[in-house]
Symmetry: none
């Protein structure tokens, strides 16, 4: 069967611990990602509690709207494991004893030196017509069912370490066999220096100019991300759109890789130049260092950092002049410049970034309100400084400041030439 | 209105980035927890994509099944921000220009020194009858609506740092006013040094010993959290259970406040003693500093920090002996002790923490595999050091190390007497 449109998929997850906020539903996130990778269009996630009628209603609603439904949780031996019964209710199937499933339950117990209890027989009661999905790591068997022609339901346990292998070892091949899937092309663009509405104004015409392209945005402030998605038939159109988008974004585009952020981009540039970085952090308090060290191999380009939260630290470790602190204050571009110069010198590094600001909630003044943050970069091509005023809470201000400091360095490295 | 049964709540979240697995839906988790705290029963979460008919269908389905619906996301200025339109479709309302909302959008732009763009006017188009929910931290206004008598819908932005304050500052009071809710009593206990199964063994008998008490656990490794919940009638029983629990947990219990973590606990102890802290971070790369500086007022107790990623930084800034680095290596308790002593001396601080370890993925050896991490605390009551071996990925290792370093300091401060 070739699909004119990719099958629509829904995820049904369940558990009171999700609905009471005790647990983040990472299973749904895993399944959304894997279904998308397979080329299916996930159109919804429905999380239900531990009640038969709620799970049945979620399953019905999902099956009404999509050809593919993946359900997790509720396959264990306890009274609140209700998936098989809910499937029976939703699709008018009897529950039948499934000898193959029982054999698997018994084998699992034997493997851990135990005997199956009476309550474990529950786990072998599956809706009529179900196919067993083996679970190599736990007792709860999964099952696959065709609730109506052209619709497919896979029920997997809720324990992630059991669910994930069952997905990889059974469901993916099953789905590929049942649907002739074409996986869509996806491109990601990570951008600094342009807000979401400006990106919309700048790029909003792309889908009409390049047929078959979908455009999406995602704010990850102060970063913004742009996505282009296209079916494989529109590959040429996508390439043309990508070229146009790159040109329009210019230096504001810093990465096209999901897992390569500002720190890693800067690290790669430094590595290529054989140069090393020092940090002088006041209000960011180590956050820039933390982001740099999150990049594997950062010891090759990060020399050291100074968290100079106090004025005495700024003087003693970075050589900031007492006169500067007295006259212009700890939050001033001059102080930032002296911090950067001092860190670069003390570390014997090629480049240094410095940040000093008022994160809040207190410490602001009429002249320098909370959120005022001064940045400096010092390097072989000279120095650069700027002042920004953030209007967010303490931790957002610092997160923004860390990103903007790394971006300032990135732009200086670009100017220096690679 | 007094509720015989607590109102049923649904969450509608949205975003292609959730459905494609790019983002974990932490907003839904936050709202599930807060609605539960308020005494509402969350019966489902529905996640829809960025299409009007899908969001409208999710909203209708949620409103059919529950009295309370909280919707997040889709309130921004771009074409894929469709919540207001979806609400209009789902509940047959016109979209109206809302001058108060526009004023707020304009004020937000003015605050950051920009002008609202044409596309930003979209954000002021709200369904007829909507009440504005002010957004102090972003341009996207939220809104509240009564889609049908006795049913209440709150629409909040998807950016967590905007959504959460709007929840706390508007929705909770609104919900309390609209529903006569009896909030269950909840107590939280934050614990270091005991795993979940040990906590279960230690505390599992509490619900049977103290009637009306529910016990729950939540892993936030290396921290674990214990929750006790009781209806208001069981207040006395709860107090007795709390006393028993505190006694059993002893010094492993470090906080009973949701938003007071290890860094703040340590900061309060330092503040009370009038003492100051210095940091010497190698593998944690600034993460401990970052956690300290996340605490408002930390400038009163955090003196400074050194991110001594390289050996030369350890020697030059902290006075670690070359012989120690040569003979015992950068990842050794002796190096950690010298780092702590050096940081304390250089900063003129009362206390110092040092961490040095192999985060991975490379850099391990048979003798010191990836995850080996050495800690030291130096203070007025002497020194303490230990070595742990983490077996997780690079970033988890560092996060664990930061928590354990702060906890070591906390225990030393406890010993020093408050």
């Amino acid at each position: 069967m070739t699909q004119a449109h990719p099958p629509r998929a829904f995820i049904v997850s369940q558990g009171e611990e999700i609905l009471t906020g005790l647990v983040v539903d990472t299973n749904a996130n895993f399944l959304c990602g894997r279904l998308t990778d397979l080329g299916l269009r996930v159109r919804g996630v429905i999380t239900a509690g531990d009640r038969i009628e709620e799970i049945a209603s979620a399953l019905s609603s999902a099956t009404d709207q999509g050809e593919v439904v993946v359900c997790t949780g509720g396959l264990g031996p306890t009274d609140d494991d209700l998936t098989a019964e809910a499937v029976a209710v939703a699709f008018q199937r009897r529950l039948e004893f499934h000898p193959e499933a029982m054999k698997q339950v018994e084998q699992r117990f034997a493997a851990i030196g135990r005997q199956a209890a009476a309550s474990d027989r529950r786990q072998a009661m599956l809706p009529a017509g179900a196919r067993l999905i083996p679970n190599a790591l736990g007792t709860a068997p999964g099952f696959a069912l065709e609730p109506s022609p052209g619709h497919h339901l896979w029920c997997l346990p809720g324990v992630p370490s059991e669910m994930k292998p069952m997905w990889h070892e059974f469901v993916t091949d099953d789905a590929r066999r049942l649907f002739n899937i074409t996986e869509p092309l996806r491109r990601l663009f990570r951008v600094m220096g342009r807000g979401e509405s400006r990106l919309q104004d700048l790029l909003g015409d792309l889908p009409s100019r390049f047929p078959g392209i979908e455009l999406g945005f995602r704010a990850h402030m102060p970063e913004n991300q742009v996505k282009l998605v296209a079916e494989p038939e529109a590959a040429e159109s996508l390439d043309a759109a990508v070229a146009e988008l790159r040109q329009r974004l210019g230096k504001d585009l810093f990465s096209e890789e999901e897992d390569v952020g500002l720190a890693e981009v800067v690290g790669r540039m430094l590595l290529q130049r054989g140069e090393r970085l020092a940090l002088a952090e006041s209000c960011t308090g180590g956050l820039i260092g933390h982001r740099c060290v999150s990049v594997a191999g950062s010891s090759q380009w990060l020399e050291r950092g100074f968290i100079t939260y106090s004025n005495s630290a700024k003087r003693e470790n970075l050589g900031v002049a007492d006169a500067t602190l007295q006259k212009l204050g700890a939050v001033s571009e001059e102080t930032a410049l002296e911090m950067a110069a001092g860190a670069r010198r003390a570390a014997g590094a090629d480049w240094a970034i410095a940040v000093t600001g008022i994160s809040g909630p207190s410490g602001g003044s009429a002249d320098k309100p909370v959120g005022t943050t001064c940045f400096a970069v010092d390097g072989p091509t000279g120095t650069r400084s700027r002042t920004l005023r953030f209007g967010r809470d303490r931790n957002s201000n610092r997160s923004w400041a860390a990103a903007i400091a790394l971006d300032m360095l990135r732009r200086q490295l670009l100017r220096a030439g690679q």
